[in-house]
Every structure is written in C-alpha cells, then in structure tokens.
C-alpha cells in the first residue's frame, strides 16, 4: 500500500526539469497527508504501548500509579458514557478555538500595521515588550478576579499567549521582504495599498504560518493549565481532579486525549501551512 502511494507520489513530483516541462503538473499530489502517515511513524508509539502493557501486567508499577492500557480504555468509555466527557472536551476546544482566532487575528492585524509603520511599532513596542514577558499564567489570577472563573478569563489569557509569537513573526515577516520585490512594485507603479496586498503581506505569510502553527499548539497546552488553575470543567480541570481523587486511570485518559488532540491540531496546521505555501519550494526530505 505504502509503496504504491510512494511510487505515485514520485511519479507525480518527478525531477525538477521534468516538472518544469509539464504544463499544469499535479504538484499538489506531493503535498498530501499520506506522507505523514506511513508505517515508520507507528513503530515507536506501538513499542511504547507494548512497554506500558508489559509494565502493568508484570506489576512493575502498581495499578494505582499506572493503570493498564485496557483499564485506561475502560475508564475512557465510562467517562464518555457516564460522566459527559465530551462536554468537558468541547469546553476546552471552544476556549482554545476562540482564543486562537482572536489572538491571531489581532496579532496579524497589528503586526502588519507595525511592520508597515515605524511609528506604530514605536508606539506599541515598549508596552508589548513588557507585557510579553509576564506569562499568561501569571495574568490569570488577576483576570479571574475581574472576569470570574468562566471561559472569558481563560480565552483572554490564552489569546495573549497566542498574540505575541504571531505578532512578532508578522512584523519581522513584513520587514524582511526582499528589496528587489519592492523595487519591482515601484517599476510596476503599484500604489501603497497594492504593494501591501500583493508584495509585502504575501512575503510575510511563510513566517506568519510558522507562528500560527506554533501558537495553536501553545494554546492547547495552555488551556489545560488554565483549567487546572481555575474553573470547574474542561480536560485540564478533569486531570487535576483525577489526581486529587487518585483516579489514575482517568488522569491517564486525559493525558492521552491531550496528546492526540495536540497531534491533530499540529497536523491540521501543518497541512494548512503547506496548502497556503504551495508556491514555495522547500526541502522535501
């Protein structure tokens, strides 16, 4: 299976010269998801699972500290059917999604503005560079006092953590545009707005995409911490509650979910990145 797909892929991508000579060559096929799902990536997780199983069945570690994979799966089923696990999951995902959208939209907008204008950059610079160094988690206690333990406080804090990497990368992406492209814009008599839209912003997109992928993962990690510190629902809340009640199986369920969702977020962002940057030729491994 894998080898057939591989052959197809190679056939479609071809060498650089072949690619150059074929009109409308199907360059998208080289960017498919399949690439990331070939067998080699499964070896390590399966090995770890086997080790986990062995460690529990040979009683290397007591079940109260490490439940078996099967017991964990059972706990997952119980949480899902009896304890409304999906509601906690949705509450975490919804916080992350909102925080990511608000934080990154504000960051791209302000990043472009600051990239285009030294004045804007100087206006925000000192404030941002200070706030940036106060971790989101340090903001949380104060913001919870203002907004309560519900979702808004967490959204605000996570949006703040999403904002800065995206803002800084957008700013530097705009500033690092190649001078020769700006000169071309001048030759083609592009207006300021046309230059921004056709030259400056597109040239910043690669660095914006990298920061979006990074901060999406960061947001997911932070929601677990934020829910652990305040509130009464969400995956983060469950994980700390499970620790308090010594429900190790539920604790492990939460960890596994966090891991899988993080993986899915990252792969989604990666696929998006490749799709948006399909004009860019990179090293394909």
């Amino acid at each position: 299976m894998t080898s057939t797909l591989d052959l197809e892929r190679r056939g479609a991508a071809g060498s650089a010269s072949q690619r150059a000579l074929r009109p409308g060559a199907s360059f998208l096929s080289g960017l498919s998801w399949r690439r990331s799902f070939n067998g080699i990536g499964l070896i390590l997780p399966l090995g770890l699972l086997a080790l986990w199983q062995t460690a529990t069945s040979l009683q290397w570690i007591q079940p109260v500290f490490l439940p078996s994979p099967l017991a964990t799966a059972g706990a997952f089923w119980k949480m899902l059917t009896k304890q409304n696990l999906h509601l906690d999951f949705l509450s975490s995902i919804s916080i992350v999604a909102q925080a990511f959208v608000y934080g990154s939209l504000a960051a791209v907008g302000l990043g472009i503005a600051a990239g285009l204008s030294r004045k804007v950059e100087q206006f925000f610079g000192p404030t941002f560079d200070t706030i940036r160094h106060i971790p989101g988690i340090a903001w949380l206690p104060l913001i919870v006092l203002w907004l309560g333990i519900g979702a808004p406080a967490k959204i605000l804090v996570i949006a703040k953590s999403v904002f800065f990497p995206v803002f800084l990368n957008t700013l530097s992406g705009i500033r690092n545009v190649e001078k020769r492209y700006v000169e071309l814009g001048e030759v083609l008599t592009l207006t300021r707005w046309q230059l921004v839209r056709r030259v400056l912003v597109p040239s910043a997109v690669p660095s914006i995409m990298v920061s979006l992928r990074y901060s999406a993962g960061l947001a997911w990690a932070l929601v677990v911490v934020a829910e652990g510190l305040s509130g009464l629902e969400g995956i983060g809340f469950l994980i700390f509650r499970a620790q308090g009640l010594l429900l190790t199986d539920q604790l492990v369920v939460c960890m596994v979910i966090i891991g899988f969702v993080g993986f899915a977020i990252d792969r989604t962002m990666y696929a998006l990145q490749r799709r948006v940057l399909r004009w860019k030729q990179g090293f394909d491994g």
Partner: protein, 256 residues
C-alpha cells in the same frame, strides 16, 4: 502595435557618496535611441551600464542632466518604460498569469482587455499551458520568458533589458537570443539591452554602445550593419567584435 518611443540622454552624470566623498559613477553620458531601435550597451562590470537603466526607469532620480522619452523629461517610474531584470523577479507567490497581470494592475484597460493582453503575451513568449504554474516550477529560461512577457504586457514605449540572459546556461541563452529577436520584430518596441557579452550585443542589436569605468562613460559606438540572421563566425562579425573589444581596451589583452 506598440508605440515606439525615442530616448534622449543628455549630459547625464551621477555621483554616489562613498565615505562622505563623492564618487563619480557616470560622466557626461549622451545617447540617442531612435523609435524601434535595438541598441546594446556593453562594458566591464562597474562601468555604470546598469545604473543608466535605473535612471531611465526612474528608480533613481538623483542625477545631473536630462533623460527624455519622446521629448518629455522622465520623472519617476511609469508604465511607458518596461524592464526585464537579470533575476527574473517573478513574485514567487503568484502564478505566471498573475505575475503578468500584476504589470497591468494600473494600466488604463478594461478587465477583459487585460485578460486578453496577458494571454497574448504569454503566448508571445511561448508559455501557453503554464499560466497557472508558480515560478519555482519553471526552469530558468522559462521564468525569464515570463519576465519578458511581463515587461511587454503594458506595451511600453521602450523595453530595458538588464543582462536578462546573464544567469542562463549557454544553450538556453542562444535560444532566448533568437526569441528576443523574434519578439522585437513582432512587437517593434524600442529596446536597450545591457550585457557584458559582446557576441550577444552584436548578434541582437542595430548599434553597440561601448562603456568603460572609472568614471563610467561612453567610449565609443559600433553600428552593426550586418544582415539578419547574423552569423557569429563570419569575418564581418569577427571584425566588428574586434572593434568593440578594442574600444573596451580589452583586445590587446586578449591577443597577448
């Protein structure tokens, strides 16, 4: 058909400031290019030949003297002057078609006419079928054709070529020289080619202007009155080449 522009460069000099002292890069340049003429400027690196193109383009306005296009002094960049750079400079995030269209963004044409012009110029350089391809998928020669299509799409009165074939391999370069001749004949646009390849200049142009450095100046001119297609190995071609090289002060070196 493209409107053929005539260009007059009168007593143009230019200084750069280097460590607080002025450095003369162009000294008393005088040049007339007639409508529809194809001229080449050759000279060693650093003789200011690319600087002249930048001045004609309007990218650099700090100079003495006058540059007139059809009798009007040029001021800033304008769509009546097109350029093909040595690096093709197609924007990597736009497809070939979008790159060519970008040149027409501010041209006073209705949208349908713009689309037609883009298709026409992609066809002119022989890139039909590659409209939706990104520049990184094109070979060097194809990308340079794309750049020529973009340069011509606005139907400039004069097309400037800044060593457009300098970065290509020998075979592709020969092929594109033929293309350039064909395009020049088809479009009839006035062209100024900057190159350091004397053969290329003699093969393509009506007139070769020879420059030298320190400060950048015109040291002579050779009219190429050979019939086309020109034969690079003919005695007449060789003797013109000898004249150009001796004007550059290089010929003695070459026989030594």
């Amino acid at each position: 058909m493209t409107q053929r522009g005539s260009l007059d460069i009168r007593k143009v000099s230019k200084n750069y400031e280097v460590d607080g002292r002025p450095l003369k890069v162009l000294s008393d340049i005088n040049l007339h290019v007639g409508p529809g003429e194809f001229i080449s400027i050759v000279g060693p690196s650093g003789c200011g030949k690319s600087t002249i193109l930048r001045l004609i383009l309007g990218l650099d306005t700090g100079y003495e003297g006058d540059i007139l296009l059809d009798g009007t002094r040029i001021a800033g960049t304008s769509l009546d002057r097109g350029i093909v750079f040595q690096d093709h400079r197609l924007l990597p995030w736009l497809t070939l078609e979008q790159n060519v269209s970008l040149a027409l963004e501010n041209a006073p044409l209705p949208a349908a006419e713009k689309r037609r012009t883009v298709a026409q110029h992609i066809a002119l350089v022989g890139l039909q079928g590659f409209e939706t391809v990104f520049p990184h998928q094109l070979s060097g020669g194809m990308a340079q054709r794309g750049a020529i299509a973009r340069g011509l799409a606005v139907r400039p009165r004069i097309l400037l070529l800044d060593e457009p074939l300098g970065a290509l391999d020998a075979l592709t370069r020969l092929r594109l020289q033929e293309e350039l001749l064909r395009i020049w004949k088809a479009e009839g646009v006035t062209m100024i080619l900057v190159t350091h390849d004397v053969d290329e200049a003699l093969y393509l142009s009506d007139r070769v202007v020879v420059m030298n450095s320190g400060p950048g100046r015109i040291v002579g001119e050779v009219a190429v009155d050979l019939p086309t297609p020109r034969v690079r190995t003919s005695p007449a071609f060789a003797s013109l080449k000898q004249r150009v090289l001796s004007l550059m002060g290089e010929y003695e070196l070459e026989v030594a």
